[in-house]
């Protein structure tokens, strides 16, 4: 397929993960040199952006040296040899602070690594630091961090999106080619769209959640951020494997997605889903239709499709996710880890600790969830929301009877200004309207940058695929990327 615009050659950029790993293996660059450059870039600009809550120079350089030593011994250092990676701060790192951007976990050092952290290390990647996020992943702007917001590298007066805003910003700023986030209602895809990078939510169960601090357990999934679709596929392939330590981990083997990412979209049936576009601003909507034309030109069969049931997803999500959060966050009681505010008896200590330790959005969701689960309201709210989940799953199944993938917007607008929506929770929640259906159903979905809005800021186009179809998802996304218009932030050739 021909490429149009600078996006088409992006995977050849010298700072792509694939290029770094190849250079480290061939000894053109050392992992130490790559890591030192990344640390220098962070030192130079992250004072302004605040993508990282904690940078790990000593640990990163030690891991880089281990990779260089493996190369020197002639061993295979792994597919991500010497590649710096940013980790969202809800991923446990042994002996290294893991805060979830909450005061209630400030200073906590987990006694174990998340499975994804181990897999990255085995693949030769270098964890550069822990990134900022909305507290306990609750938010769409990273303004709910107890440690201050992150700024969007494309325009520092704007939010980076959230909740994984720090990882998205770290990739967009060029600090790292890869990042990890978690996506409960869009928390990887929405910040990826707002920052102009690739962000992907795998099928529920594809990536182990052992060591991911739980928010809403039937929805949470870890996934990659990258500058290019190919790099996202490379990282996904490292992460997608069964883990006996996560009882929701899938046993199905995951085929290599990076090996087919350039296979094109010829013959793929693409459904442009108006229900994932209509609520968006006109410039965002226009980019989605242009992306559909790119796929048509690449040989895909493009048709319009309606899935009106998606409209109920947002309300259902904002009952289910808070309900699960209210249960998951009961563990922060001042007993085993994290903050304790002393009081005369245990119950008063629990209340004093939670009152001082949680921010406003976390409290709001805990109360909403507790209410939705309480006697007299359970059936009207929680059980009803669970039935909507079935409704959404059935609607997806109907859609995938006639098309292979769906195409829509990722977020309704480009990045909004810092402070714009902090006092209006419902306005903030509306950011997730296009991403939530995939979480409710447990399906994979991806946001790929596609041009700019009227304000010159990045727009993300969302590709959605049936469960376990990540290879198809990456392939279609790469075809979109290959035809994306050039922007000021397109990766250099």
């Amino acid at each position: 397929m021909s490429t149009a615009g600078r996006g088409g050659s992006s995977s050849a950029g010298i700072n792509s993960a694939r290029a770094i790993a190849a250079a480290v293996v061939s000894k053109d660059r050392s992992a130490r040199q790559v890591t030192e450059e990344a640390l220098a870039a962070v030192a130079e600009r992250d004072g302004q952006l605040h993508a990282f809550l904690e940078v790990l120079p000593d640990e990163a350089l030690a891991q880089a040296d281990a990779v260089d030593a493996a190369v020197a011994r002639g061993e295979d250092p792994g597919p991500l040899a010497g590649v710096p990676v940013a980790l969202k701060d809800n991923l446990c790192t042994r002996g290294i602070p893991t805060t979830c951007a909450s005061k209630i976990l400030e200073g906590w050092r987990p006694p174990y690594d998340a499975t994804v952290v181990e897999l990255l290390r085995q693949a030769g990647a270098v964890a550069l630091g822990k990134t900022n996020m909305d507290e306990f992943a609750m938010g769409s702007s990273t303004e709910n961090s107890a440690f201050g917001p992150t700024r969007n590298p494309r325009c520092v007066d704007r939010v980076p999106g959230g909740s994984s805003g720090g990882s998205a910003a770290a990739v967009a700023a060029g600090f790292v080619p890869l990042g990890l986030g978690s996506d409960t209602g869009g928390s990887i895809r929405q910040p990826a769209a707002l920052c102009g990078v690739v962000g992907m939510k795998p099928t529920y169960g594809r990536v182990s959640r052992y060591g991911l601090v739980a928010f809403a357990s039937s929805l949470d999934q870890i996934g990659p951020f990258a500058g290019t679709v190919e790099d996202a596929a490379l990282l996904f392939d490292v992460l997608a494997r069964h883990d006996p330590r996560d009882s929701t981990s899938l046993r199905a083997a995951s085929p290599s997605t990076v090996s087919t990412v350039h296979d094109g979209a010829e013959g793929v049936r693409v459904g442009i889903c108006a229900d994932l576009i209509e609520g968006c601003s006109p410039d965002v909507a226009a980019r989605v239709y242009e992306a559909a034309e790119v796929l048509r030109a690449a040989g895909a069969h493009v048709e319009e499709i309606r899935v009106p049931e998606f409209a109920y997803g947002l309300s259902a999500y904002y009952l289910i996710a808070p309900a699960e959060a209210s249960s998951n966050l009961a563990r922060y009681d001042g007993v085993r880890y994290g903050l304790r505010v002393d009081a005369d008896d245990a119950s008063a200590m629990n209340t004093a600790t939670r009152t001082a330790g949680f921010g406003a959005e976390v409290k709001r969701r805990i109360m909403l969830g507790t209410y939705a689960l309480s006697a007299g309201y359970y059936d009207a709210y929680y059980a009803q929301a669970q039935r909507v989940r079935t409704l959404v799953v059935d609607a997806f199944a109907r859609a995938y009877g006639s098309v292979d993938v769906l195409l829509g917007a990722t977020a309704p607008t480009t990045a909004f200004a810092l402070g714009d929506k902090v006092d209006d929770p419902m306005a903030m929640y509306m950011n997730d309207i296009c991403t939530i259906p995939s979480n409710l159903a447990g399906h994979p979905a991806l946001s790929v940058p596609f041009g700019a809005g009227d304000d010159g800021l990045p727009v993300g186009v969302q590709v959605l695929a049936p469960p376990l179809e990540e290879a198809l998802l990456f392939r279609v996304a790469r075809a979109v990327e290959a035809g994306a218009p050039a922007t000021a932030w397109s990766p250099s050739p």
Binding site: Y312, A383, Q384, V393
Partner: protein, 113 residues
């Protein structure tokens, strides 16, 4: 993922509007203490969210099963063999207060007579 419901639950109760008292009650259940101002703010904000959920509450979905989880969930078992667990000292090092290799908490229940 069961569709079975007790008789009498099929006619859904329409929830009334959230009150300040509801917010205070829910905060107590969740072990949160709110100032008067916070009660006002949260009451207004939660009402807005619940009003948005009214579209869902009003749907007749009695023909659909409630779905708790996106995957067919089956119990996961492993052989009952001892395996290494987390290091006790490392775990206890993260606790706010420890005594004799145990988590120490303030008094539970009323002051002894």
């Amino acid at each position: 993922m069961s569709a079975t419901e007790e008789p009498g639950h099929s006619a859904r109760e329409e929830p009334g509007q959230l009150s300040r008292a509801d917010v205070i009650h829910v905060a107590n259940l969740a072990r949160l203490s709110l100032s008067e101002d916070e009660v006002d703010t949260f009451t207004a904000q939660l009402r807005t969210v619940l009003a948005h959920a009214a579209d869902v509450a009003a749907l007749d979905l009695s023909h659909l099963a409630a779905m708790a989880h996106p995957l067919p969930v089956e119990n996961v078992l492993r052989p009952d063999e001892a395996q290494p667990s987390l290091d006790r000292d490392e775990v206890l090092a993260a606790a706010p207060a420890v005594e004799d290799n145990r988590f120490r908490v303030p008094r539970i229940g009323p002051e002894p007579a």
